[in-house]
């Protein structure tokens, strides 16, 4: 049940760094999440932790012990791949037993171990069934049982929910959380869906182009995104980003954009000049529904996108990109209609227009 440490780990393929100087600490018995878009290097990090690949540089430590050159079995690591990849022609029992059969263990030993783990995961009454007869949650439990039966101390889940219907996903996340609590092992989840990370990851590493962009709790990443990419990616609806300018006058600081202008007393360390402004769709509201806010501006409806219980309103406010505003209700309006949007200055994010790093949040400037 190790604490896992990656120290300056790099992995090259055809001279190109797929994983680029990554350092991570994964606490023992936690649900850790590695989040990143396709080809961000997250799956390679998983393979490196699993011992399926050996790094070109750096070290991997389990409880302080160097395991860099050990294979998956010696590391006591198990991997469950996309869709949980169960054998459709084998019963739940035989699916769980398959790694033990490969190890050529005696029959009664296999039976005992399968039954133990099945009881533990509360699927002992479903063992004679085939995968097609099992519910989504049961399949998940069978796949994890198969991983655990080998005495694995670390379980790596590679995009376990990606191909599932979104209706089923609603419950599968909670189910995964429950399973991790029950088994109390180190579970590492690899995903490209920020919602998986938000709802499951106690700690989350966001990756892009082989690097870890930010490491922290859900709150850290959501409230203080290190840069524009994290801001855009780590959210329910993509953060709005548009051009702005910082102007200092006397002891005030002004932020000017095409759609609004606002001033703060606390000048902070903001440099003057061009910046990028970030605003989360869920921090903005429609004036006719929720009343005026500190800052209000007008625009035209492009599309009201009804996402089940919520609506994303796409608005043309004269910026290069459309603005997205989240409304927690069904809200349908016609294309081209005028609309007024409001938000409070504390929800602003100010990013550098050069390296795209976070410079300040509205809340910090209010003081």
């Amino acid at each position: 049940m190790p604490e896992i440490k990656l120290e300056n780990v790099s992995k090259l393929i055809d001279q190109k760094p797929i994983v680029d100087n990554v350092s991570l600490e994964i606490p023992d018995k936690s649900l850790f999440c590695i989040l990143g878009p396709p080809r961000s290097g997250k799956s390679m990090v998983m393979r490196l932790i699993a011992g399926l690949e050996i790094p070109d540089k750096g070290r991997i430590l389990f409880d302080g012990e160097d395991v860099t050159s050990l294979g998956p079995v010696e590391r006591k690591v198990a991997v469950a791949f996309q869709d949980f990849a169960l054998y459709p022609h084998l019963t739940a029992f035989d699916n769980i037993a398959s790694p033990l059969k490969l190890m050529k263990l005696p029959k009664d030993e296999i039976r005992r171990r399968v039954m133990d783990v099945a009881r533990y995961l509360k699927i002992d009454h479903r063992l004679t069934h085939y995968p097609s007869e099992l519910s989504g949650g049961e399949k998940q439990r069978v796949a994890i049982a198969r991983a655990l039966v080998k005495d694995a101390e670390v379980i790596l889940l590679d995009e376990p929910l990606v191909r599932l219907d979104y209706k089923i996903r609603e419950d599968m996340r909670a189910e995964l959380y429950k399973i991790q609590r029950e088994v109390g092992k180190n579970v590492i989840l690899i995903t490209s869906d920020p919602l998986d990370a938000m709802s499951l990851g106690e700690r989350i590493a966001i990756m892009n182009e082989g690097k870890v962009l930010q490491l922290g709790t859900m709150e850290d990443l959501y409230e203080t995104p290190a840069n524009i990419l994290v801001g855009r990616y780590f959210g329910v609806v993509e953060m709005n980003i548009f051009d702005g300018e910082v102007v200092k006058t006397n002891d005030m600081i002004s932020i000017k954009t095409k759609i609004f202008e606002t001033s703060f007393k606390n000048t902070g360390n903001l440099p003057e000049g061009k910046v990028k402004i970030g605003l989360r769709p869920e921090h903005m509201s429609i004036v006719e529904l929720s009343g005026k806010k500190e800052i209000n501006f007008k625009g035209k409806i492009v599309l009201t996108e009804v996402v089940g219980s919520d609506t994303i309103v796409h608005i043309d406010a004269g910026l290069k990109e459309l603005l997205r505003v989240s409304v927690p209700a069904i809200y349908r309006r016609q294309i081209g209609e005028g609309i007024e949007v409001g938000f409070n200055a504390e929800s602003l994010y100010i990013f550098s227009s050069e390296d795209e790093k976070l410079l300040a949040r509205g809340g910090d400037l209010i003081g």
Binding site: D165, M218, E282, L303, I335
Partner: protein, 363 residues
């Protein structure tokens, strides 16, 4: 444009072993110029229904009308239905212009007319710049725009869209949803949009038919599907997450009426006692309440938080209340953590009751 009417349509597929009722006694009216969604999980019969409308399948029972005319046995060609599929179907090696012009060429329209129409449609879809390119070199977003242009240029009677936007990237999806909506509003085309994705349906269509197991369960506006689901399936299927469905006994005690379970779940519903009496006071019901109408903080029910899912500035709490489970969607300011015991209440006017046997709405 036409009005499409399905009159008690059933389609049965007979395989070697199994007999599958794909469409089960479906009656559906799509008014002339309306934008209607056909929504349901895979295998619900929506694709067979649209194939029947297009004339690609003949119903086992029932009739299909375009306006007042019965078209049940008409060939697809005669029906003048344009279809756009999930994956764009184009000739890869002739130009985009020629691809779009194809249906007009087949109809032997004069060259000047073809040029005018292609230009118009290309502008509408925003593909003027790529008219001379060949599809083989284009990305899927552009290809789907071309497919839509090709379908539109024929001026079909009915326009059928079978999940055409699922393969597009998010930006192009928003762009094309907007275009489709504009086109439909501007040209008043009869459009049928088939999808498993509630967002596509609720965003585009004025009315949505929710299908499951071959049947249409409800045919209504997005607001009505959300506010007043006709049955438990619609309540669960629409919304993210779907409606909580909690089976309870109805118990009368000291002149009050409660929803109750063996494990101690008890909720006073005396405020709807009269309505329930009128229904013959059923002994058991399914309580339907959307997660966003479960209030956390105070209330008559105890609930243990088993999981908190963050979705931006809101949290979905997975709760165990006595012997029942449910979800609450609350603002992030409710800082509940797994293991916490909370008190909960329901927004009274949002409470729905369903028949546990049929799943149909009672109140």
């Amino acid at each position: 444009m036409v009005r499409v009417f399905l009159d008690h349509v059933t389609k049965i597929f007979k395989g070697e072993k199994k007999r599958v009722v794909a469409v089960d006694d479906v009656t559906l009216e799509i008014p002339d110029g309306a934008f209607v969604g056909l929504l349901g999980p895979s295998g619900c019969g929506k694709t067979t229904t649209l194939r029947i409308i297009a004339g690609l399948e003949t119903p086992t029972k029932g009739k299909v009308y375009f306006d007042e005319e019965e078209v049940t046995d008409w060939e697809p060609r005669k029906r003048n239905v344009a279809m756009v599929f999930q994956f764009p179907v184009l000739y890869p090696t002739i130009t985009v212009y020629e691809n779009i012009a194809l249906p007009l060429r087949a109809a032997k329209e004069p060259e000047s007319e073809i040029r005018k129409k292609v230009k118009e449609i290309a502008e509408l879809m925003g593909i003027t710049e790529i008219l001379n390119e060949k599809p083989i070199k284009l990305d899927v977003n552009s290809k789907q725009k071309i497919s839509l242009a090709k379908a539109l240029i024929r001026d079909p009677s009915v326009f059928i869209l079978d999940e055409p936007l699922t393969v597009l990237d998010p930006k192009a999806r928003i762009e094309l949803r907007t275009k489709l909506k504009k086109i439909q509003l501007g040209m008043k085309k009869t459009m049928i949009y088939v999808t498993h994705d509630q967002t596509e349906s609720l965003t585009l269509a004025e009315k949505v038919a929710v299908m499951n197991a071959g049947k249409i369960l409800q045919y209504d506006t997005p607001e009505a599907l959300y506010d007043n689901p006709a049955n438990t399936f619609v309540g669960w299927f629409i919304g993210n997450p779907g409606m909580n469905l909690i089976e309870c006994d109805v118990v009368e005690e000291n002149g009050k009426l409660y929803l109750s379970t063996e494990g101690g779940f008890r909720y006073d519903i005396s405020f709807i006692a009269d309505e329930l009496k009128k229904l013959g006071q059923p002994k058991t019901v399914v309580l339907g309440i959307r997660p966003e109408f479960v209030e956390v903080g105070s209330g008559p029910l105890k609930a243990k938080c088993v999981h908190a899912e963050y979705v931006g500035n809101r949290i979905i709490l997975h709760l165990e209340s006595y012997d029942r489970t449910l979800k609450a969607k609350t603002p992030i300011t409710v800082r509940a953590r797994p293991g916490d015991t909370l008190r909960i209440d329901f927004v009274k006017e949002r409470i729905k009751l369903f028949d546990p046997k049929t799943g149909n709405a009672l109140l």
